[in-house]
Amino acid sequence: MSRLTIWIILGATLTFLIGPFLIVIFAGMSAGEALAFPPQGLSLKWYAKVFTVESFQASFALSMFLAVFGTIAALLIGIPAAYALNRYDLPGSETIRTIVAAPIIVPGIIVGLALLRYFVVPLNVTITMALFVTHTALVLPYAVRVVSSSLNNLRADMEEAAVILGCTRLQAFTKVVLPNIRGGILAAFILGFVTSFNEVPASLFLSGPGVRTLPIDMLSYMEITFDPSVAALSALLAFMSVAIVFIAERLLGFSRYV
């Protein structure tokens, strides 16, 4: 390939990756009343308005709650699961690995539908509970994978050394394994947090009146009001995600684990 072709492909790729991001940022800076690009005039009034919309406040709080606690729950299940898959030659561990990866492969919309039909409706669980369970389930595979990959880099004989020095198996895990996979756990948390926060398809099925995650709330807001505040909010969320990943990368080389 000639240099020119390479530059064109590279340019196109970057345009498609960064372009939408820039469009959203500028669309939110419009001085006009309707969502449009290019923006009509420039102002930050829509960025300010985002913080005054009450439903956004509630749905942001819900999304935060789900992202933080759903991911923590996924880690509480995922770390022991990854450990067991990694250290013990369990019968059918290959099958378990495949099942754990399923939520990554199966479209979220199917997961949402299935959970609604066979979990939420028959058991009559609250919407918040349903969302919590769903987000935990969706984040779990990422937790298992990321933690697994850092466990792979940790030799099993270190735990044996700890046991010989007097640790119980559990102490060996908390004193030797956990501190050495800290980076992987943090990476899994961030990945889970971002995945959960941006999740739409499954949450769409489970959201109900007054209980919506932020992305779903933005969708319904747009059905009624077509003003640039959604663009402003999107831009703010994108900045939040980027900031989190950036800090993580700075702190512990996040990209090593993903």
Binding site: M158, E160, A161, A162, L165, G166, T168
Partner: protein, 337 residues
Amino acid sequence: MSNAFVSLTDLTLSYGQTVAVPDLNLDVLEGELIALLGPSGCGKTTTMRAIAGLLTPTSGRIVIDGLDVTRTPANKRGIGLVFQSYALFPHLSAFENVAFGLRLLKLPNAQVRARTEAGMATVGLTGFETRKPAEMSGGQQQRLALARSLVMEPKVLLLDEPLSNLDARLRLEMRNELQRVQKDTGITMVFVTHDQSEALALADRIVLMKDGKIEQLGTPAELYAKPATAFAADFMGFENIFRVEGSELVSHLGRLSVGYEAKVHMLAWRPSGVGVGTGPHTGRVISSSFAGGHREYVLNSPLGQIKADAPIETPEVPIGHEVAFDLPMATARSLAA
């Protein structure tokens, strides 16, 4: 033996259906430095792991210091194990690595500090307290792993190929270090190696293993001078081993009449026991290399290749030339099997 400190009785060790060590019997005396020597896969690590409690025996008994520990978990055996890979804790400083086991004992801080510092001094690592293992050299990591085990004052210290990852110079240094520590502390040590010279240099007794079984057990002098089997002889440097039939030596390649009759199964010679330059037989030189005090030849003979060392004073025989050699009864080792 009555004063056995570590006693393995009818020990069978397996991985699933695979038996790695069938029916092992071994007594280690108190304060002894014993070497498990053998080729790769012969069950040395497996035996160590069983003594340490990391592997539960399929059958048999392990008695340490008069106590049956066969079912005692690894963290209650009071045994030290230095891993071939060191298995240091990368997230802890050198000091905390050594203090790790002492802290588990919930000893007062001052005591932990004192014993840790003493342990680090023993292996010459004073001043390295705050380093992480990754910031230390191979030899220093090795010594750190040793200190971590020693400060626990274990009844028995097991070392799995403790010197194999070191370069020649450090290896020698660590050898002396180990020997010194052993003499100073009087600790009973079992160490694994597949390096014959290491076992000979360090051990009070050598356990030569083959396929999970003990092939021969004895002092270095015994094993070196009197290997009992072809396998042991080969391991101890008798590189020329032949079957005996009447007054002939036999290999799978051919036979050679030697003019004396030995009433044994096999005869073996070290390269240094083979005469070069004079003798009743002739061979063609196929390789010749200078080895300091002597010259190492490989000769092609009716029996196949023969390894022979010649004093450096004798004139060199060029490759491809014929040379007389001798397999004298005087330097031969008789083997029963």
